[in-house]
Amino acid sequence: MRTKEPGDDKFAGLVCRLNLSGLTVTKIILWLIAITIVSFVIGAGILAVSGDLPGGHGRTASPFVEGGSHGNTSSFPCGGATSGTVSITMGAGELSVRGGAQEDILMEATVFSRNAEWQPAITQSVNGSQTIITMTDKGHTAKEWVAAHTPNSWDIQLSNRVPLDLTVHTGAGDTSLDLSNLNLASLVVENGAGDTEIALGSAPVPGPVEISLGIGDLTLRVPKSSNTRINVHNGVGDVSRSGLVEQGGFFTTPGYNPDRPVTEIWVKQGVGSTSLEAV
């Protein structure tokens, strides 16, 4: 049996002074209501005093840091290159690639992230007359993932002038590639999970155009005036077409002529719908 220790009497006295026996449910509820009101009032008071009161400066009424974040932009010059290879690898997030980079700039990348540690690794090298740029997501530590609302969004602008071999790998997330103004030499797109939207230009792409998707919907737009042939291998999901003609297992643009330079697109999709549009 446990023997009585000197501290026991002190502890018993403390418990008696707390008077827990008098703590009724009503008292508990009243205390909780009081604590709730006081906590919110003090919290709002601190925000008001510090000038962070929600609703001010165009913010929504939330004491939390908003999902919006500032972008970090990096530019990579062409450096006299006559062609370029751009390889983008993103783990998870939203990716947007389009043309319209400034003159003499091969790639301009804006990374939206609240956390400095979320910046991707970007390297640039020159091989003869070709400039090679790789932009790779470094991945995130468990600690970073705990930070709620941390966005990961990349907005990339590429040169319209320089012929480009473009490779895009994304793990999960929505991908939007508006490549209609680009001078593409080849294109490889791989997306593990998420919706993908790709728009190509009317100029023929001499190299291969390969699109591989795991799970997610694909929307592929080509100009009606282009000389394009599309092969689709779809696992589970519908394939819909608009403005395209089906012939010999391929979807072609209305004026398709094999004797002219052709853009040949190969689509492989696991699960999800495929929408092919000639606009």
């Binding site: 919110f40 840091v65 600690k143």
Partner: protein
């Protein structure tokens, strides 16, 4: 089908066995036997008496529903009120609208309040820890506009969650009492008797 006393009592017993206690069942059977005895003494036939009493299946359903409602009243539990509601549903198809729909709406409402309460109770302490880490200069945990304010908001969220859970409990008790009265009224209306 023409029925006699034995047939009537047999069906009644068969339908009520397993739900009612032996003594209660014996009391009911004895009441109906007495009714038949007195009826026969006044010159009425078995057939007439059976016709005046109504179908033994309907009587058994009403008695069963009443018994289960009383059981739910005396011993409060989710299982008991659920059985009472199911038994009351068997009294008429219209009870799908008048009993089942309100019951399901209440159930979903109480469940949603409970889940919100639990979420607040869990999110509050997490937000509190985040605010402390933010105060300690950890940028990865910066979820609050102002960490000092965040500390108090987190406390408020936690206590609000606890209040929701406690409030949900009392709300459930209130609706339980109201529900029992409503079920009793419903049975009395269907059976054509006065409120039980």
């Amino acid at each position: 089908m023409q029925q006699n006393e034995q047939e009537f009592i047999r069906i009644l017993k068969e339908r009520l066995e397993g739900t009612l206690a032996r003594e209660e069942l014996d009391d009911i059977v004895s009441d109906y036997s007495e009714h038949f005895r007195m009826g026969k003494e006044s010159g009425r036939t078995d057939e007439e008496l059976c016709k005046s009493l109504g179908s033994p299946e309907d009587i058994a359903r009403e008695l069963k529903a009443l018994h289960l409602v009383k059981k739910a009243e005396n011993s409060k539990s989710c299982g008991n009120i659920f059985h009472a509601v199911i038994a009351t549903l068997g009294l008429g198809l219209f009870n799908l609208v008048f009993v089942l729909v309100p019951f399901l709406i209440l159930l979903v409402m109480l469940f949603v309040i409970f889940i919100v309460g639990v979420l607040f109770t869990v999110i509050g302490p997490v937000g509190f820890v985040f605010s402390l880490l933010q105060l300690a200069g950890q940028p990865a945990f910066a979820i609050w506009l102002n960490p000092a304010a965040g500390t108090f908001f987190a406390i408020g969220i936690t206590t609000m969650g606890l209040l929701l859970i406690i409030g949900d409990y009392y709300l459930a008790r209130f609706f339980y009492r109201v529900g029992i009265r409503y079920l009793k009224w419903n049975i009395s209306v269907i059976s054509g008797t006065e409120e039980i």
